[in-house]
């Protein structure tokens, strides 16, 4: 019987054979924290181990200030300071301060992540790094603080679900719509405790930003880690960033053809249409055409799910096709995921078009993933967003959010009500 990718990764990280259901201790390649959770982990480590205690390897720690960057309150500013000072004492160099962007994206761009890496982070969407074949998973502050002691942590070897995807997206439809479709199908707990391998021609031909979108949303089905071993253009990009070793790892860690899966699902995207997650849950899915015309107060494009350059460029195409202006009744905010993405938007003229269109084009940050940063919504308002969650009151008590693709979000911003992007992209 062949092995799945996660079994191969855990054998490599633990140094011995493993099987599904085993509890294993894996070596940690990166123990990372955001500005959220970071101070909690640091304080817990020092409380339990003493102020003088050293982490196992400062070169395997990273901190990314993204949830509330720049700090919006004295409390957050203090937490960021606690992290900076800890890093100075410990000799941690990988501190991506407020001018970098969303952690996983920043680490990917910095060439820190390779297939098979075991990456922990205080971000439940850490697992989007499965888009390059890493075993990355979101954890709490205890997991991080405990990892600092010896560079190891415990895992249960998970069963793997395989999702094969075929077909080509039609105009106005994209990977976000596929993912929304899958969440509607499987529900919020549909992948609980599972690893998930995405395969098939649609995946093999997809770009990195599409893989990130797909992988970032596995958390919304309570999945442990999604895995796509790099190939094609993604492999080339990753080799340039993270080094030649990537190629060998991607090959070695690919699942065997006779690997055993707990479930195999097949989706064809040929006839897929634009979809949205309606209030107040990601798995409350409807076709955009069924909710078209719904009044909207705010549109947000960005986040770890859909904040890459290609996502923003897709929204830009809809904006220009729609006349280059957003509706004056809709507050529209675009947030690139990293400074690299932001700079490209500036250099290629997208940023100027956004500003002329009446859009707020912000620094890279998680922004609208919390109610405690800019873009918070008052009670009674309706928002559309490309973030990954629309839980009750998530960005403001009494407000409601529809989740959708960057194209649908921009079509909505242009028309002032929920709009199928195919009505603009004719």
């Amino acid at each position: 019987m062949g092995k799945t990718s996660i079994v191969k990764i855990m054998e490599r990280a633990s140094g011995h054979p493993v099987k599904v259901g085993d509890r294993v201790w894996c070596n940690i390649d990166w123990a990372t924290c955001r500005d959220f959770g970071g101070a909690n982990a640091v304080l817990l480590f020092e409380k339990e181990m003493g102020k003088e205690a050293k982490v196992w390897d400062p070169d395997k720690l990273a901190f990314t200030f993204d949830l509330q960057a720049p700090a919006h309150s004295e409390k957050v500013a203090t937490n960021q300071k606690i992290i900076r000072e800890f890093c100075k004492r410990q000799g941690v160099k990988r501190v991506f301060d407020i001018n970098h962007g969303i952690g996983q994206h920043v680490m990917l761009e910095a060439g820190m992540i390779k297939p098979g890496d075991v990456v922990l982070g205080t971000d439940s969407h850490m697992n989007l790094l499965g888009s390059v074949g890493a075993f990355a998973t979101g954890v709490g502050n205890s997991d991080i603080a405990a990892s600092y002691i010896a560079g190891k942590n415990w895992f249960r070897v998970p069963e793997t679900m395989k999702i094969e995807v075929t077909g080509k997206f039609k105009k106005g439809v994209c990977m976000r719509d596929l993912l929304t479709h899958i969440i509607g199908d499987l529900g919020a707990g549909g992948m609980d405790f599972l690893a998930v391998e995405f395969t098939g021609e649609t995946i093999e031909n997809s770009s990195l930003n599409e893989r990130i979108t797909l992988c970032s949303m596995v958390t919304e089905m309570s999945g442990k880690v999604p895995l796509i071993m790099p190939n094609g253009e993604v492999l080339k990009w990753l080799v340039e960033r993270a080094g030649p070793e990537v190629e060998k790892l991607a090959k070695e860690l690919k699942a065997d053809p006779d690997a055993e899966y707990c479930k195999v699902l097949h989706y064809d995207v040929t006839d897929l249409e634009p979809l949205a997650s309606c209030p107040d849950a990601p798995d409350n899915v409807k076709p955009v055409r069924e909710i078209a015309g719904t009044h909207v107060d705010q549109v947000h494009i960005g986040s770890c799910s859909n904040g890459r350059y290609e996502d923003i460029a897709a929204a830009h195409r809809v904006l220009m096709a729609g006349g280059g202006k957003v509706s004056p009744t809709v507050r529209t905010i675009i947030t690139p995921s990293t400074t690299e993405v932001q700079l490209r938007c500036v250099e290629e003229g997208l940023a100027a078009d956004f500003l002329k269109a009446g859009i707020v084009f912000t620094n890279p940050t998680c922004s609208l993933c919390t109610a405690e940063h800019y873009g918070a919504m008052p009670a009674g308002d309706v928002g559309c967003s490309t973030t990954n969650r629309n839980f009750i009151g998530k960005v403001g008590k009494g407000s409601h959010t529809y989740l959708m693709s960057p194209m649908t979000a921009m079509a909505t911003a242009v028309k002032g009500c929920i709009t199928d992007p195919r009505d603009i992209l004719k």
């Binding site: 101070a39 003493g50 609980d192 009750i392």
Partner: protein, 174 residues
């Protein structure tokens, strides 16, 4: 050990996400002792949980409890409120892991999701819970449920009082 815990039930639905348990508005909090005051503030109909919960009360929920964020605040806010354990059909892996790592018991209770939907266990019911056997008796209406206690390594971590203690013992740290 056959200690029987007694307390009232606070009953929740399936797919209770971490923003409902502990809203992102309060993520900058770093002291677990300050977290209970925010518990379930955003859960419709349970806004008064933090004010009214008594040490010993139980949180009873359906499937996939604690889905969403990795915030450990969502465990601390119940633990430090004196809720001795969570009784749920299942919980999300991220919540489960945070609970185990704090030595905080979560019992997986077969059939409780349906029982909640059918009104067989309600807010305010008096419960008796025996952690060692996983037996849950609803004294108010006479129903009995069975929860699976953790096994394997998770049990060892629980018995050590959480992951930090377990790791310290494992590497022989002071």
């Amino acid at each position: 050990m056959s200690e029987i815990l007694k307390g009232r039930a606070w009953v929740f639905s399936d797919d209770v996400d971490t923003d409902l348990i502990y809203h992102n508005k309060y993520l900058a909090e770093t002291d677990p002792k300050n977290m209970p005051q925010y518990a379930f503030e955003y859960y419709p109909g349970k806004e008064n949980f933090a004010k009214e919960v008594k040490p010993g009360d139980f949180v009873v929920a359906g499937k996939n409890f604690g889905c969403g964020s990795s915030r450990e605040h969502a465990v601390y806010c119940l633990e430090y409120a004196g809720v001795p354990c969570v009784l749920a059909e299942t919980c999300s892996r991220i919540y489960y892991r945070n609970a185990i790592n704090n030595g905080y018991p979560v019992l997986f209770v077969k059939g409780i999701s349906e029982a909640i939907k059918e009104g067989k266990i309600k807010d305010g019911d008096q419960l008796e819970v025996e952690l060692s056997t996983g037996t849950i008796r609803d004294v108010t209406n006479g129903n009995t449920f069975h929860g699976d206690a953790v096994s394997d390594l998770e049990n060892d971590i629980m018995e050590a009082g959480g992951l930090m203690n377990y790791m310290k013992a494992k590497v022989g740290a002071k």
